[in-house]
Amino acid sequence: MSVLAYGYAVWAPLIWIVVLVVIGVMVLIWRNRGQKSYKKGTAQTDIFLSGVRVPPEGQRHVKSENIYWGFFEALKRLYSGMMKPHTGIVNDYILWLVAVLAIAILILAVSG
């Protein structure tokens, strides 16, 4: 078995896969022992969203710019700060290179 040793412990992927398979088999056995006496197509198998009306089949897909809306709202200031240097202009990229070059040479010369 091929393992990866990192000091005090060992990462053995085969053991992980065996454990995953065992857990998967246990989950399947438990699932098969569930209730089988329900009627498909009635209100028993419909989606329930705490009483809110569920949109019909074709309109349920959330657009990808609306996913994680809460995350982006909370970090609005961070994102507006990060978007500002990301212009599309090539001249700005070269200005960044010159700036980083100067800072790097300063740091290395002072403390290298």
């Binding site: 978007m83 990301h86 212009t87 599309g88 202009i89 001249n91």
Partner: protein
Amino acid sequence: MFLVALGYRAGGNAPIYTDVPQGPMVLPVPQALNLTSIVINVAVLALMLTMVIQIHRHTGSLDSEKSRKLKG
């Protein structure tokens, strides 16, 4: 120019081995470096001009500040 000036030796001769007059020679390596650099820059210039022509055909302007369709 920077590279060629690096190879200069005071009072040196041309760095060719056959039929050599006595004395120090100018270093030949910077001349080779310079030639290689010129060739590479010609190729790059040709490629860049092609791309600038294409950009002008698409966006109608040659200002690099205006060709920023990809941003953010």
